[in-house]
C-alpha cells in the first residue's frame, strides 16, 4: 500500500494528520502488517499531555507487545474508544477507522522532525 499523501510520518511508524492546531495519530500500514493480528491497544488518557517521540501506550498483537510513541506533542483530546472491542480495525484500516488518538498540538517546529510520505516510504521498504 502506498502511503497516503498529506500525512506526516515518524521513524517509529506512526502517522499524523495535522489540521491547524489539531492532529489525528495512528500507526502506518507497514507497522500493522509487521505486527500481525492486533488484539489490544492501550492508549494515553484523555486530558493528559504527551511530548513528541515519548512512549504513550502499547499495541499488542497475538505474539508481541510493542510500544506506541507519539509523533507530536500536545494534549490528548480524544481516543478511539471503538478499538477496545475491535482492535482489528487497526489492521483493517490503519489510516481510517483504525486511528488511535487526537491531539491539540503544543509543540513548535516539531513537524520538521517528521517525514513526508515519500521519505517514509524509503524507510518502510528498506
Amino acid at each position: 500500500m502506498a502511503q497516503p499523501q498529506g500525512l506526516l510520518f515518524s521513524k517509529e511508524h506512526e502517522w499524523a494528520s495535522v489540521d491547524g492546531d489539531r492532529a489525528t495519530i495512528g500507526i502506518t500500514d507497514y507497522a500493522q502488517n509487521s505486527l500481525g493480528d492486533i488484539v489490544y491497544v492501550e492508549l494515553p488518557k484523555v486530558g493528559s499531555t504527551i511530548s513528541q517521540f515519548s512512549n504513550v501506550g502499547v499495541i499488542e498483537s497475538v505474539k508481541a507487545v510493542s510500544d506506541l510513541y507519539t509523533p507530536l506533542s500536545g494534549e490528548v483530546m480524544e481516543i478511539n474508544g471503538a478499538l477496545e472491542n475491535d482492535p482489528s480495525a487497526v489492521n483493517r484500516d490503519p489510516y481510517g477507522e483504525g486511528w488511535l488518538f487526537k491531539l491539540r498540538l503544543s509543540g513548535a517546529d516539531e513537524q520538521s522532525a517528521l517525514l513526508s510520505a515519500g521519505e517514509y516510504e524509503k524507510i518502510a521498504t528498506e
Partner: protein, 338 residues
C-alpha cells in the same frame, strides 16, 4: 516453520472450521528398535510403554530425578519398532539422555532429527482432504493409532494424532519427499479450505485445548503432577526416573500447579506476568493468548499456589503496574464437539 504464513487468527480459524497444514519437521524423530525397548523405556518415562498395542501412539513424559520434566513426547509403536517424537528444543538433550541410559544390549537407537520430515493436517475436514491422497482407510484409523501407507506414492507413517484439539493426522515421511508432498496437499486441499499454518496458530490452538507446551507448562522445574498431567503417570510401574519424587509430591498435595485463567477485561496476559490474589503474590503466567474459540477472550495458564488453584477463584494479573481481574477456570478451555 514460520510464526505465520498469512495471519495467526486466520490460520487458527482454518484449523477449527476447515483444515490447516503444519510443517513440523523441526521436531526430533528417534527410532528405537530391539526387544528390550519397552521395558527399558518404561524405566525412563512416567507413562507405560510396554502395554502399548501394535500401532498405538501414547503421550509420555521423561523426568529428572526431582520429578521435573526433561521432555514431553509421543511414542508410536510402528509394528515392532518404536518412533519417539521429541520437542525440537530438547532433541539434543534427549538424544544424550537416551544414550546415557542405553543398556548393554537389546536396544538400538537412530537419530533422524533434521533428516525426517513431519507434516500435520489438522481440522474437521482432514479426512475429506487427505483421503484422495492415501492408499489406506484413514477414516477407520482410531485416535492415537497409526498405520503405514503411501501419501501420493510417498511411504509414510500416518498417525491420527495432533496438537490442536481437532481431528487430524500426522504424516512421517522422508525429508526429501516432503516439499513436493506439502505443495500437492495444499494445492488439492485449497478448495476445501486447507491453509498452511505456522507456530503462532499452533500455540493458540494447543493453549485453547489445554495441552502443555514444553518450556511453559512443563520444565525441568515444573513436574507433570504440577502441570496437571498426572493421568500420564503410572505409579504402578516398578521404577522410573523421578518416580519417588513425583509420588511424594502427589502425596503431600501442597505444590503450586498449572491452572487456566480467563481475563475479565481486554488486556492480554503474557508469560512471566505476576498473578496476585487480593494483591498478594500467588504465582505467574506461563502462557497467554487471545482465544477465538473461547469467546475471543484472553486466556492464560498460570503456575499458582494450591490455595489459589480452585476453579472460580478470582485473581489479578499484574500488567504494566496495573491489576487486571481474571478467573481460575478448569482446563481445557476448548473441547471440540464430537
Amino acid at each position: 516453520m514460520p510464526i505465520q504464513y498469512s495471519s495467526i487468527l486466520k490460520e487458527h480459524d482454518a484449523v477449527r472450521h476447515r483444515a490447516g497444514l503444519f510443517d513440523l519437521s523441526h521436531m526430533g524423530q528417534f527410532w528405537l528398535t530391539g526387544e528390550g525397548v519397552p521395558q527399558w523405556a518404561d524405566t525412563l518415562t512416567t507413562n507405560a510403554v510396554a502395554t502399548m498395542k501394535p500401532w498405538q501412539a501414547r503421550y509420555n513424559i521423561f523426568c529428572n530425578d526431582a520429578g521435573g520434566a526433561h521432555d514431553d513426547t509421543i511414542f508410536y509403536r510402528v509394528g515392532e519398532r518404536w518412533l519417539l517424537v521429541v520437542n525440537a528444543s530438547n532433541a539434543a538433550k534427549m538424544w544424550e539422555h537416551l544414550n546415557a541410559h542405553l543398556p548393554r544390549d537389546g536396544v538400538a537407537l537412530r537419530n533422524d532429527h533434521g533428516r525426517a520430515a513431519l507434516i500435520a493436517i489438522q481440522g474437521p475436514r482432514s479426512v475429506e482432504i487427505l483421503r484422495p491422497h492415501v492408499d489406506v482407510d484413514i477414516a477407520a484409523l482410531r485416535y492415537y493409532f497409526c498405520t503405514e501407507g503411501n501419501v501420493d506414492g510417498v511411504p509414510a507413517i500416518i498417525a491420527r494424532t495432533g496438537y490442536t484439539g481437532e481431528d487430524g493426522f500426522e504424516l512421517f515421511v522422508a525429508g526429501e519427499a516432503a516439499p513436493e508432498l506439502w505443495r500437492k496437499l495444499l494445492r488439492d486441499g485449497g478448495n476445501a479450505g486447507l491453509e498452511p499454518c505456522g507456530l503462532g496458530a499452533r500455540d493458540v490452538l494447543r493453549l485453547e485445548a489445554g495441552m502443555p507446551l514444553y518450556g511453559h507448562e512443563l520444565t525441568e522445574e515444573i513436574t507433570p503432577v504440577q502441570a496437571g498431567q498426572s493421568w500420564a503417570l503410572k505409579l504402578n510401574k516398578p521404577e522410573f526416573i523421578g518416580k519417588t519424587a513425583l509420588a511424594q509430591q502427589l502425596e503431600r498435595d501442597d505444590f503450586s500447579r498449572i491452572v487456566g485463567l480467563v481475563m475479565q477485561g481486554r488486556a492480554p496476559a503474557r508469560e512471566g506476568y505476576r498473578v496476585t490474589r487480593d494483591g498478594a503474590a500467588v504465582g505467574e503466567v506461563r502462557s497467554g493468548s487471545i482465544a477465538p474459540s473461547v469467546g475471543n477472550k484472553h486466556i492464560a495458564t498460570a503456575l499458582v499456589e494450591r490455595s489459589a488453584a480452585t476453579p472460580g477463584t478470582a485473581v489479578e494479573v499484574q500488567i504494566r503496574g496495573a491489576a487486571h481481574g481474571a478467573n481460575v477456570v478448569p482446563l481445557p478451555f476448548y473441547k471440540r464437539e464430537k
